[in-house]
């Protein structure tokens, strides 16, 4: 469904990703783990079109998306739930969710999608008419995920969904991600929180200094010596 072939990308003169290749099959949940500065966020930003790859290609459902802008990639059905929530602070939760359905394919079905999404997030349903910025960090993360689902994405990507959240909220976030995976949406997660994310995913890539150093089934990575030592602190 998604395939990166030997992608280089970075900011200005600094190249962060070096020849990154990875793929995500339809219906799969895949994770990218790695230390900070490894290039995980850069990978997602490159896929979604916020950054242009300087070399290599990115294909989504057979179409070359390497040179597309973010809004064009989103139109094709990829959605990113960004690091640090990134809600529209002065809009209500409801307006935020409708903004999620901005993309043409989702716009006409917004009402229907909203109903479905709210079933998954009962807490968000209670807060529909509150200003987004008045919510707590955990609630904001839930709204951000719900907003991502409003786009009816074919591929949903999460960037560090646990960042800055209390342990108890992290558990809730991952249980939501689990249930999203179960509904059959294809998912790509980037995380520091290796333990949780490997339990949620089918397959994983380990990124170090902008290069893919390991690729395996998630369960296998959990028992991999290198992963255990470097990321699980065992």
């Amino acid at each position: 469904m998604l395939e990166l072939k030997a992608v280089d990308a970075g900011y200005g003169a600094t190249t962060i990703l070096h020849s990154v290749s990875l793929n995500v099959q339809a219906g799969e949940s895949v994770t990218i783990i790695g230390g900070n500065g490894a290039g995980k966020t850069t990978t997602l930003r490159t896929i979604i079109g916020l950054l242009r790859p300087t070399a290599g290609t990115i294909h989504f459902e057979g179409q070359d998306i390497s040179r597309l802008s973010a809004h064009e990639v989103v139109e094709l059905g990829i959605t990113l739930v960004p690091e640090g929530r990134q809600l529209f602070p002065d809009m209500t939760v409801r307006e935020n969710l409708y903004m999620g359905a901005f993309r043409r394919d989702a716009r006409s079905q917004a009402e229907k999608t909203l109903k479905e999404v709210l079933e998954l997030f009962p807490r968000v349903a209670e807060r529909l008419d509150q200003q987004a910025e008045s919510l707590s960090g955990g609630e904001q993360q839930m709204v951000a995920i719900a907003r991502g689902l409003m786009a009816r994405p074919r591929l949903l990507m999460f960037d560090e969904p646990s960042l800055g959240l209390a342990p108890i909220i992290v558990e809730q976030v991952f249980s939501v991600i689990d249930s999203i995976v179960k509904t059959g949406v294809t998912v790509l997660i980037v995380e520091q929180n290796v333990h949780h994310t490997l339990n949620a995913a089918d397959r994983g890539y380990v990124l170090e200094n902008g290069e893919v150093v390991l690729e395996d089934a998630a369960q296998a990575l959990l028992t991999n010596d290198h992963v255990r030592q470097a990321y699980l602190g065992i």
Binding site: G35, S136, G164, I168, Y231
Partner: protein
Amino acid sequence: MTQDKTDSAQRRGVIALALVLLGILAIPIAMDDQFIYHIFVTICIFAALSTAWNIVGGYAGQLSLGHAIFYGIGAYAAVMLTNLGITPWIGMFVGAFFAVIAAIVVSYPCFRLHGPFFALATIAFLEVFRVLALHFRSFTGGATGMMIPLNVGWEWMVFRDRLPALIIAFGLLLLTLAVAWWIRNRRLGFQLIATRERESAARAAGVGTVRVRLVGVSISAALCAMMGSFHAMYLTFIEPEAVFSLTFSIQIALFALIGGIGTIFGPLLGAVMLVPITEFARGWLGSGALGLHGFVYGVVLVLVVLFMPNGIMGLVQRFFEPDRSASEAEPASVPAEARASEARSFGEDVLQVERLDKHFGGLHVTNNVSFSLKEGEVLALIGPNGAGKTTVFNMISGFLKADSGSVVVRGPDGQFHSPTTPGDYAAIGVGRTFQIVQPFASMTVEENIMVGAFHRHHNVVDAREAARETAHRLGLGRWLHAEARGLTIGGLKRLEVARVMAMEPRILLLDEVMAGINQTDVRRAVDLMLSIRDSGVSIIAIEHVMQAVMSLSDRVIVLNSGEIIAEGTPQEVVRDATVIQAYLGKEFANA
């Protein structure tokens, strides 16, 4: 990069500068033409004004479009006093004195504003000065302007020849350049730039941001006023529309922009390049093409902004300066070393917090929070997001005033004090980091840490020494000369700690220094914290990373909805039912 390379680049720079200055003096003398003399006097005047402006507009990053105020005050002071029979050599300093007063009165309120709003406010002040100068006719001559009596001689700064005027203008230019160079290489310069880059981080590093800006703008205003005095004598006539002019203010800033804003010698280069072009254009086209020269001006400004935003100096530096990027792999910081957690004994209280209360609107963010910190202790502050942890930090570092309650800190004298501002807290030895890293992005790693080191060391050499030592201790040694903006998040977090450590604090407040770094780095960071603790510093840390909390802290306080819900050793706290329910979750309890 090597020291040699920097040195030779520096030497080439000095030679180039000397040549430019020599040219300014020698060319007109050699050509001995009235018009050429005029051009070079004008170059000196604009170069000096622009260099002076750059202290505020460049170093401090406050884009003033009202600098004509100070120039105008100098001009009017000199002309008025000359008319009273007092030499402009005195008038110059009288003007400088009043300009400094005006600068402080105008800037103090304006410094609360940034970017375009500061620029707007300075424009508004300039308009007020202009309208007032027009209004008080008896004083200023109003719209008809003022002439100076034509007494020729050095005493009156009026000459038949152009050479003496050039010498005075050149002297003033040298003075201004020397002052600008001196500031940039002293503590004041570092503090001005730090204030520009991140105001709150500068305040946390003990920089009196308002004070340094006022000092900067005062120096800048005094220099502008002196140039104004001389320019008035040179032109022999002044009027409000010409001296308190927005266009004139923009011109001053324009030369700095074209030369390279924030650099020491950029404004000089800008003036050298642009003044001859505009003066020749004025000479050739005359009044036949009204507006053409202004049009060219505007277009040049737009083009420079679009195609060389770092000015001429930006281009020059690309050739001279070595690469400053930071794209190397991360090194290990401090050697990891296992430490058994033993029961430790602590000294007396160094910080006491009593019943802190804080409301934001209807939200009770801190509710009756009391705790104390003992000497040599590591206290962890944990709790869910929005529990009020960072608010507590802001109140015990002077960034936020509590609604009620008190914070006292034991000073080096053994007495308890009640600091109020971030500066007070820094002075008494409380250092803090920020949850969202606040590097001085355009400064190098070394310079970033030096800003902290200046808290203890006034001298640049000592501060540099201290900064290097701290950098090596925190594993930043390899990036001393890299710009902070190039560091990774992990590097920035370490830089944040390094800057505080360079202040040699007695109490260290760490706000989530481990968020967003991986487990291996967390272990390194824990070891670093322990080594800091062992050097006699008391620490309060806000953390979500429980692994770090468990191995680092002697005592843990749990905040929830602004209230302390538990307090005790790490082992006690993680077994506490309330804490598990509110914060840790059941998985942690089962682990």
